[in-house]
């Protein structure tokens, strides 16, 4: 049993950032804007968050510090995503090009800035990890579930589930969600009934920026004690999760669990006795998440339920 608990605990660390980032990308795409800049946004969020953790080390209690860092990551993610929003909404630029530019900008900017603002002039941002919760009071005593979700956990896991609940509710049960979805499917129709398409698309991209920034920090904090200007392709994996999840929140949850499991196997197969006994070279486990993505996409892409108008700049004049 302890192996199962270990795998689930590890899986959460990989799945939750994917979930948060994929939900962010979902909001952007359902408003009609393709956002492949998630990788760059995650990176900027993680960079700002870890810098904050480093500079405020020891000045406040661990969980409060982490929550503040998450807020800062969200704000930086939003600011960065505005560049994408401006290019794709106001300038009607090719959204893939603009996203690619942001992805290229982020690591270079993080390394350049880290070397300048840190007293040691190095590109890695070191921080102390004081955020692991060994056991949540009361909830940790629940059999099975307590062992899986409320031991060796991070507060970020619960934040992830809160975000999922809010995102699902907002998308399907509020006026805002309905309008946002309309803009992604048929912006002309949405406009004709008085929805401000540009404003909705800005909202979509801003939400993706906030969640992307949070996701970046949530990815880095539990898995490492230093940030080295990379989020290891997680932004792209999140977009694969989004496609696998067919742009729907609950499916995205399961998709991110699937990828989290694959990632867990790749990262910690040496702690899983059954897999060690197989004697397969470690590189095959490292490839597993990416090969699994490809296979899954083969089965899900044929009947793609992508928002109809995504990637097409909305032009008020064209009817």
């Amino acid at each position: 049993m302890s192996v199962v608990y270990f795998v689930v605990q590890q899986m959460m660390l990989f799945s939750i950032p994917l979930l948060i980032v994929a939900l962010g990308a979902m909001y952007s795409e359902r408003s009609g804007i393709i956002n492949i800049a998630m990788e760059g946004i995650m990176l900027m969020g993680a960079f700002a968050g870890t810098l904050f953790l480093k500079f405020t080390d020891g000045t406040m209690s661990g969980q409060l510090q982490l929550i503040l860092a998450i807020l800062i990551s969200a704000v930086v993610g939003i600011v960065f995503s505005l560049l994408h929003a401006y290019a794709s909404i106001n300038m009607k630029a090719d959204q893939t090009i603009s996203g690619t530019a942001l992805n290229m900008f982020a690591p270079a900017f993080a390394i350049f800035t880290a070397r300048i603002v840190q007293p040691e002039h190095v590109q890695q941002v070191q921080f102390t990890n004081t955020f692991r919760i060994a056991r949540v009071p009361i909830l940790g005593d629940i059999p099975v579930i307590g062992d899986m979700l409320f031991k060796n956990a991070y507060i970020t896991t619960y934040i992830g589930f809160v975000i999922l609940a809010v995102a699902t509710y907002a998308l399907y049960k509020t006026r805002f969600g309905l309008r946002l979805r309309a803009c992604g499917e048929h912006p002309q129709a949405a406009d004709s009934v008085g929805v401000n398409v540009y404003r909705m698309q800005y909202a979509g991209v801003i939400i993706s920026g906030a969640l992307g920034g949070i996701g970046g920090l949530v990815f880095v904090v539990p898995t490492s004690t230093n940030f080295n200007a990379t989020v290891a392709g997680y932004g792209f994996l999140a977009i694969a999760v989004l496609i696998f999840g067919q742009w729907k929140p609950i499916r995205i949850l399961f998709a991110s669990f699937f990828f989290g499991l694959m990632k867990t196997i790749a990262a910690s197969y040496s702690g899983i006795p059954i897999l060690v006994d197989l004697g397969i070279p470690s590189y095959f486990y490292k490839m597993t998440p990416y090969i699994a993505t490809l296979i899954v996409l083969v089965f899900t892409s044929k009947n793609s339920q992508a928002p109809k108008a995504e990637g097409i700049p909305y032009d008020k004049g064209a009817r």
Partner: protein, 373 residues
Amino acid sequence: MSAEKVKDKKSGNGSVGVISSIFAIIVGLIVGFIILLISCPNEAVGGFVTILTGALTHGTKGLGDVLYQATPIILTGLSVAFAFKTGLFNIGASGQVIVGAFASVTVGIMCKSLGGVHWLVALLASAVAGALWAIIPGLFKAVFNVSEVISCIMMNYIGMYFVNYMVKKTPAIFDNMRNQSKPVASTANLPKAGLDKIFAGSSANVGIIIAIIVVIIIYIILTKTTFGFELKAVGLNRDASRYAGINEKKSIILSMMIAGALSGLAGGMIYLSGTGKYIEVVDVLCDEGFTGISVALLGLSNPIGVLFAGLFIAYITTGGFYLQLYSFSTEIIDIIIAVIIYFSAFSLFVKNVIAKIKVKKELKAESKEGGNK
């Protein structure tokens, strides 16, 4: 001459494109300068001048190094541009490069009996490997409608781990002490083709000449052949092309394969230069593939534009090497390139605006002429 061509010439699309690229470059350089100013005001001017002229300060060596740096990124740029022209976004150049590199290094080390054509065979092997690697995203796109962007990204990571694994498990290739591939046989190194005499002390070799020839070939394929026309047609409208009798699935797979071959060739060029570059067994995606995206975008996906864009990016990258004299890290070059790409996305908009203004002027002129008659 078709009616469309006449229209193209009238609105001067080519020159507008160049103007908008230059606009993007200028904005990128200005942003770079501002970042330098903010981070260290005393050294900003010196650092900026180094970026712009660093490649010129070391005589012919600097220029030769620009050509050497430009070779692989012209090819990856061409790869991305070719795919763009055919409606595909080849973000998988990175994986194709490393797989191509592995093939060329393997041939370079193992097949010692080839003699004078050794390097040529090794280069061909790299192109073939790149093409084979790109079949998968092409096939998945054509048959299963899988977004080539995601599958290419996955293939990048799979390629990286695959090559690391293969290098590590092959004793003939793996240098255990340095955790990297062994040097290739001297016959597999690209010949200098007299460029070492023109650009003394630099790493320039026959690669740049091959790259230019490949640029011309791709230009001819895209603009002068039925095959190229079909590929472009599929890129513009898959359904219409199928209706017109083009085998659109075959076109997609073939254009991914050609793009992959170009990137693979770039991988061969990098590791057969004899400049002390070996395949390191580390979990890092290779840069040249992503630089290729910048080169293609800046070159407006036009083969000739790609050639100049590659030379430009190699030029400021070479200038960036000399930045180490100052307290700036070389990442400023990547920042400048990213800003240039960002604004080159704007330039599509700028281009449209200029074209619209021109059309309006023409319409006015025509209506005036009509009025006078």
